[in-house]
Structure formats: structure tokens, C-alpha cells
């Protein structure tokens, strides 16, 4: 049996792995900006006392490796009654991790919306909710797009780390197949190409989107 026959036979598992990788990535990419926006909003507009703990959360997450965070959550969790299966722990970890970065990205975006744009809205008579929905959020989204696309790519790559806590995603599926067949190199190559394609596509979509949004940017 050649390596490629083995690869063929392992295909269903690899496809499952790819599916889980994409699921974890998309779910993480959806949840972490939402949580991050909550954090950014609370730090900017919330009561003063929330700033310090949230600052600590952001700095600790951004200052330590994702792998260490996942070990702490997955192996340490059960000691404090947080006994999660690998996939749940992975998604929780990815979200908490991504949210810290997104909160900083979005906070920067919120601050960068020119004050005058909000004042112009006040003068036209928009109320608080309308200003948030119609001015602040859209303008912020525009400003944070490049950094966010970057972060989506980071999240995709971090999903590979989840294989270490045995989440059966792509890396785990392929390396598992590899070690069973002593075809590690081929499998690692396949793996590299899968991720490379996904990150390249994401980058291109992001750049295309940016070009299309260019007309909204006043130089």
C-alpha cells in the first residue's frame, strides 16, 4: 500500500477534521468580536471600576501564549469544576483569546471615529441609539477591517494548536493519520497546503473587501 492509497483511505477523517477546523474558526471569528465589542464598550462607556479588571484580562491574554491558556483551561478547568470536552474547551478558549485582541482593535476603532461625526449627528437630531447604530458602529467597522481580517487569519492558525488538547480538527486528523502510516512528511505537507490555501483566500477576500470599501474613506 502506497502512502497515497493510505491518504485516500483516510480522506473521510481528514475531511471531517477540515470541517471541524472551519467550524471552530468561523464560530470563534463570530463570537470573539462580539465579546470583544462588549469589553471595548464597557471600557469606553461603562462605569469606571470595570476598566481595571478588563484591562488585566486583555493584557494577560495578549501577553501569554494561546497554548498555555488552553492547557490552563483544559487541564486546570476540572480542578475548579470546569470539566469540558476538548471541542467545547477549544471554542471557549479561542473565543476568550480572540476577544481580548478584538477588544483592543475595536476600542481603537471607537476612539478613531472623529468626534465631529457624532456632533454632526447630534445637531441633526439623532438620538443616542441612532448615533450608535447608524454612525458609530458602521464607521468603526470600516476602520477596523484590516486589523480584523488579520485577526481572523490568526484565529484560523490558532485552531491548529487545539490538536494538542486532542480536538479532532484538521491538524489532529492528519497527523493522526500520518503517525499511523509513517507518512508524516506527506501528511504534514497536505496540512500546510490546506492552511496556506485558507489563509491566502481569507487575505484576498479581505483585501478585495477593503478595496470595495475604499470609497467610504475620506483621505
Amino acid at each position: 500500500m502506497t502512502d497515497f492509497d493510505a491518504l485516500w483511505e483516510a480522506l473521510p477523517e481528514i475531511v471531517d477534521g477540515l470541517g471541524l477546523t472551519i467550524f471552530m474558526w468561523l464560530a470563534g471569528s463570530l463570537l470573539s468580536p462580539v465579546l470583544g465589542l462588549g469589553v471595548a464598550w464597557a471600557r469606553r462607556f461603562g462605569p469606571g471600576w470595570v476598566d481595571r479588571p478588563l484591562w488585566a484580562y486583555v493584557e494577560v491574554i495578549r501577553g501569554t501564549p494561546f497554548l498555555v491558556q488552553m492547557f490552563l483551561l483544559y487541564y486546570g478547568g476540572p480542578f475548579i469544576g470546569l470539566d469540558l470536552d476538548p471541542t467545547t474547551a477549544g471554542l471557549l478558549g479561542l473565543t476568550v483569546y480572540g476577544a481580548a485582541y478584538f477588544s483592543e482593535i475595536l476600542r481603537g476603532g471607537l476612539i478613531a471615529v472623529p468626534k465631529g461625526h457624532v456632533e454632526a449627528a447630534l445637531c441633526v437630531g439623532l438620538d443616542r441609539g441612532q448615533i450608535i447604530r447608524r454612525i458609530l458602529l458602521p464607521e468603526m467597522t470600516l476602520l477596523v477591517l484590516p486589523a480584523s481580517v488579520n485577526m481572523f487569519v490568526v484565529l484560523l492558525k490558532e485552531t491548529a494548536v487545539l490538536s494538542i488538547i486532542t480536538v479532532p480538527e484538521l491538524t489532529m486528523a492528519v497527523t493522526g493519520f500520518g503517525s499511523a502510516n509513517f507518512a508524516f512528511t506527506q501528511s504534514a505537507l497536505v496540512l500546510a497546503i490546506c492552511y496556506w490555501s485558507l489563509t491566502e483566500i481569507t487575505g484576498r477576500v479581505g483585501r478585495g473587501l477593503e478595496r470595495r470599501l475604499d470609497r467610504f474613506r475620506i483621505a
Partner: protein
């Protein structure tokens, strides 16, 4: 209507920390008149305008717009009371503001910018908002730019859209804070023309400007602000014809090369 008082300020005061930016300002702005506010940089002109728009909250004194107190009123016992948000919004509805930096919303077209208040605040149906917005764009000569985004417009065009946006809400009073100061010289003309037309139609305008020519020819009333106080005010002709006030003549001298020499020569 014309000649009645549109805005009254009595003993208006504003400070940032220890820094007093406005001190005991008493000023009346009449309906149908153009009032120009001139003065050196840092004298408090923008702050005064922003207080009238309630973008800054004054610390003392009272501002009345068409008789109604803005933001703060005196209670029965003479104490200062803050008015409810709804009341502030209602009084502010009388006012339109045009900023030095245009402040068009970059994610909306010219039409979208003008229609925003019509749709969201006045709750007009889409078609009616569109028609009215188009009419206002036409008024500033930009009907054909309705679908352009701010990034696709020149500075002068952006400022004219900003004027249309303010006019669309049908304000009784228009505030302008150095509307031409961030424009290239060849673009200031088109904005000043729109403002001149507006004045000719009888709009009440309070204008901060360094365009002394505009102040001299269009304004009925000129206010010279210096170091947080009104140093001098009066009919435009009087103020410019005999700038006896030492600070004013010093101030005007810096504008001699901007065409003010013509004025001073009579």
C-alpha cells in the same frame, strides 16, 4: 419676525478646569440677520458656537433660543436646573450647524447624509425624504452629486453637502464655525456664495469666520471676541470703518493682505 431676538445669551460663562474660555457673554442674535463672530485664535469663538448648539455645556448664565432656555434654566428659587434630554433635543431642533471639518458621514452618499435626519428624526417615508434631500442638494448646486460618497467630493462640495444636511432639518438658525478655513482658496468662493444666498433668503446666521470680506459685506452685526470676552460689537459698517479698538485694529492688520486693506481704506 425679522428683527425679533432669535438667540439671547446672558452672562454666559464656560471654563475648562482653571481656564476661563468664555466670560460674561451678553449677546443677542436677531432673526433674519447675519451675525459674524470674529477674533483671534483661542479667543473662544468655537466654544461660544458650540455652547449655542449645546455640544458644550455652559457653566453659568443662560442661553435662550426663540425664548426657550437651552440646556439649563433658572428654577423658581433662582437655582440652575438641567433640562430633560427631550427638552434639550426639542430646543436644539431649531439649530443647524456647519463645521470647519465638514463632518460628513463617510459611509453614506451625499444624498444619504442629507436624508439621514429626515428619515431617522422626522421619520419621513423613504420617497419623501429622498425628494426633500434632493431639493436641498439642488439648492447648494449639487443635485448631480447625490450618489457620490464624501471621499469622491472636493472639500468645497463636501461643505456644501454639509450645509444642505443642516438645512434639510429646516432650522430657524444656522451656525457656521469657520466653514471655509479648511478649504483651498479657490474653493472658498463656492461655499461663501451658498452662504450669501442663504443670507439673502433671510436665514438667521451666526458665523465664525476669518473671511473679513464676507463679514463686512454680508453681516449686519459683527462681534469681536477677545480673550474670552466680547471686546466690541455693533453694526458691521461701524465696526469695520473705524476700528478704534486697539485689539481689533491689531487683529485686522493681520488680515490686511487678505483684502481687508480695501475695507480699511473705506
Amino acid at each position: 419676525m425679522s428683527g425679533e431676538i432669535a438667540i439671547t445669551m446672558r452672562n454666559l460663562g464656560k471654563r475648562y478646569g482653571a481656564h476661563e474660555v468664555l466670560r460674561g457673554i451678553d449677546l443677542d442674535v436677531r432673526h433674519g440677520e447675519v451675525t459674524c463672530l470674529i477674533g483671534p485664535s483661542g479667543s473662544g469663538k468655537s466654544t461660544l458656537l458650540r455652547c449655542v448648539a449645546f455640544l458644550e455645556e455652559h457653566d453659568s448664565g443662560i442661553i435662550r433660543i426663540g425664548g426657550a432656555a437651552l440646556g439649563f434654566d433658572e428654577g423658581a428659587d433662582g437655582a440652575r436646573v438641567r433640562l430633560p434630554v427631550g427638552e434639550i433635543a426639542r430646543v436644539r431642533r431649531n439649530i443647524g450647524m456647519v463645521f470647519q471639518q465638514f463632518n460628513l458621514w463617510p459611509h453614506m452618499t451625499a444624498l444619504g447624509n442629507v436624508a439621514e435626519g429626515l428619515r431617522q428624526v422626522l421619520r419621513l417615508p423613504k420617497r419623501e425624504a429622498r425628494e426633500r434631500a434632493m431639493a436641498h442638494l439642488g439648492r447648494v448646486g449639487l443635485a448631480e452629486k447625490a450618489d457620490a460618497y464624501p471621499s469622491q467630493l472636493s472639500g468645497g462640495q463636501q461643505q456644501r453637502v454639509a450645509i444642505a444636511r443642516a438645512l434639510a432639518m429646516d432650522p430657524k438658525i444656522m451656525l457656521f464655525d469657520e466653514p471655509t478655513s479648511s478649504l483651498d482658496p479657490e474653493l472658498t468662493g463656492e461655499v461663501l456664495t451658498v452662504m450669501r444666498d442663504l443670507a439673502a433668503e433671510g436665514m438667521t446666521m451666526l458665523v465664525v469666520t476669518h473671511e473679513i470680506g464676507f463679514a463686512a459685506h454680508v453681516a449686519q452685526h459683527v462681534v469681536f471676541l477677545d480673550q474670552a470676552r466680547i471686546a466690541l460689537e455693533g453694526r458691521a459698517g461701524e465696526v469695520f470703518r473705524k476700528p478704534w479698538h486697539p485689539r481689533l485694529s491689531q487683529f485686522l492688520e493681520t488680515y490686511l493682505d487678505r483684502g481687508a486693506s480695501v475695507l480699511l481704506g473705506g
